[in-house]
Amino acid sequence: MRQFLLFFRKEMLEMGRSFKWLWVPLVFLMLGIMQPVVTRFMPVILESSGNMPKGMTITIDPPSGMEVMAQTLGQFNSVGLMILVLSIMTLISGERQSGVSQMIFAKPVSYLSYAAAKWAIMLSLVTASFVLGYAGAWYYTVQMIGSVETAAALKAALLYMLWLWFTGSLTLFMSSLMNSAAGIAFVSLGAAILLSMASTWLPRYAYSPGFLPEISVQWLQASEKPTGDLGAAILCLMCMIFFFMIAAYQVKIRKSNV
């Protein structure tokens, strides 16, 4: 436990020094705020964009608050997911390549607490960023668009956070397996996109973690509440534990690049 706390403090310091604690939450907050603002001013933006024939009128039905929240989750799922993967991709592989991990494991330290600290810092970064962005989107939606159903929005946020946790775990797992940063980002983003795309043509009882973003959007929008969320959530947590175990083992057998 003491070792874990030490490693965790080290990771915290490093994330602070590379400004990740600043720009990742900030980008999520901006993504969250932009969506309601852009939706609200769509008519004004179209009007002033210029190249429209005179006298042409466009009527856009104002979307409901829940719809805008669902669109925000869509933003998080494209730009947000990419930012997240890019910001944590070298968390394990970077130290292996620069020789830092070799120095650390010259002393008898526990591999599990090393990997656990990596996981803990990843989960805290993801959680802080998402909560900040979602809260910003919620506040702006209520201010500019309309009311948001509290219970459904909270449940959607919880399920969506699980999905982000899953993608983060996948990235760290890849980071423990591969050396090239571009390869890690490519494989983890590709796998995440494939999984969430597969949710459209896989049967619901397959319980893939890729269902989670779709289920959370449905919680916000659909009148009939979706099913299969519990199964997908449990499988997602199991996948995260599995990734963690293999990554800890990889840290043990591959201390350095040479």
Partner: protein
């Protein structure tokens, strides 16, 4: 133009501008202090200043060399 200006609630738009400014300023400060970066510094200054959010993010992800 006046109608557009008056229809925008500036108190709600301001935070976006402020956040972008913070991001750009932090990016510039860290660029000024950085010893080793990928590519020439003046290019990153232009990218951060002109690229809105994406410019600063691109600098933090690609430009900084101390990945660990």
């Amino acid at each position: 133009m006046d109608t557009i200006n008056s229809s925008i609630p500036w108190s709600l738009i301001m935070p976006i501008i402020v956040l972008q400014l913070i991001l750009a300023v932090v990016g510039l400060v860290s660029l000024y202090k950085a010893e080793a970066i990928r590519g020439p510094k003046w290019l990153w200054v232009i990218i951060i200043l002109c690229g809105n959010i994406l410019g600063s993010v691109a600098y933090f992800i690609i430009g900084r060399k101390d990945a660990s």
